[in-house]
């Protein structure tokens, strides 16, 4: 475990504690926004509402990964090695949306 001493420390902000609490309030605010939208659009089952919730989820994910998981302050190399492969998830989502359309079509509109 000695090798850790030799690592140059990636920058950690001095005011980490206040940043943590700020992030907590942001996450809480977004969760409350989620809940408020949920109740306002309770009887609405349209597609854009789903995308809105997913977008809010991605924003929350940004703050969790960025501040709580310290990703914002890591080397760019590490950041991209973890974030860029997530493009496969986007790819898979796209494929399944197209495929889901066909499945839906075959199932209900014969």
């Amino acid at each position: 475990m000695e090798h850790i001493e030799h690592l140059e420390h990636t920058e950690t902000p001095k005011d980490m504690k206040s940043q943590i609490w700020k992030t907590f309030w942001i996450l809480l605010a977004f969760t409350v926004v989620d809940i408020v939208i949920y109740f306002i659009l309770l009887s609405n089952h349209s597609m854009w509402k789903n995308w809105l919730f997913i977008l809010l989820g991605v924003v929350k994910a940004y703050f969790i990964v960025g501040v709580f998981m310290h990703m914002k302050f890591e080397r760019k190399t590490l950041m991209y090695s973890i974030i860029v492969p997530m493009i496969f998830v986007v790819f898979f989502v796209t494929l399944m949306i197209i495929e889901g359309d066909y499945t839906n079509l075959l199932r209900w509109f014969k």
Partner: protein, 251 residues
């Protein structure tokens, strides 16, 4: 000449002799594990989306409003009178997950899961505070925040156990449920179960780390990196819950 090699060395991170990512081996491997785990959860949630999309969208609920009083055999009534839960239509989670502990017969959609989300976010904050205290080598603070994180995780698991017990009590099984398509309850159990198992493993890891903090293992080692690694895992569990919450309850 000497300064020249030094500067090129500094620029050239992949020359060997040091971590190009500027993190320790363990932390990098934790990140890669979390990446693979993210793929697993993505696949599960995409499967959920795909299967749900292959059914007709939920029927509009124009009957029950939040805080409405419901009769005891509400599900049966809804099935018979309003044709709300049918095989062709995916059920709207609003009329399925509408219970709250110690409150009976009142329609409270989303309230209980919002509480669970709040508990998990809070335990994530105490975890990151433990990591921050670890940077300062403040043993008592690390142990305090670790204990709070463990309590938060245990509370979340308790909530999930209650949620499952209620859902099973209403007749939901892996092979069928009274709300409509079979895959509805099956996917719920598989995905929340998989996430709950992650929470459980996280609590176990937290307990082990907590014991080691108390024993002074990391104080002797000179750094609290293990708290950081366990913390990464714990935040990931919170991150996954954000999406499970979105797909299973909000949408």
């Amino acid at each position: 000449m000497a300064t020249n090699t030094l500067s090129t060395e500094r620029k050239f991170n992949w020359g060997g002799g040091k971590s190009p990512f500027s993190v320790s081996y363990g932390k990098l491997m934790m990140w890669l594990f979390l990446l693979s785990d993210a793929f697993t959860f993505s696949s599960l949630l995409i499967a959920y989306g795909f299967i749900r999309y292959s059914f007709q969208s939920p029927i509009h609920n124009l009957v029950v409003k939040p805080f409405d009083h419901l009769s005891h055999d509400f599900v049966q009534e809804m099935v018979e009178k309003t044709k709300y839960f049918v095989q062709d239509h995916w059920p709207s989670p609003e009329l399925v997950f509408n219970h709250f502990p110690f409150v009976h017969g009142i329609h409270l959609p989303l309230f209980f899961v919002s509480l669970m989300t709040f508990i998990l976010i809070l335990s994530s904050v105490t975890m990151v505070l433990a990591v921050e205290a670890g940077h300062r080598n403040a043993k008592s603070e690390v142990s305090k925040y670790m204990l709070m994180t463990i309590i938060g995780g245990a509370m979340f698991l308790g909530c999930q156990a209650w949620e499952w017990a209620t859902f099973i009590g209403e007749g939901a099984r892996l092979y069928g449920n009274p709300y409509g398509p079979r895959s509805f309850a099956a996917l719920f159990f598989i995905v929340t179960g998989f996430h709950g198992f992650h929470v459980f493993s996280g609590v176990v890891l937290n307990v082990i780390t907590y014991i080691n903090v108390l024993k002074g293992t990391y104080e002797k080692r000179g750094h609290y990196e293990m708290v950081e690694k366990v913390g990464l895992y714990w935040h990931f569990v919170d991150l996954v819950w954000v999406f499970v919450f979105t797909f299973f309850y909000l949408i």
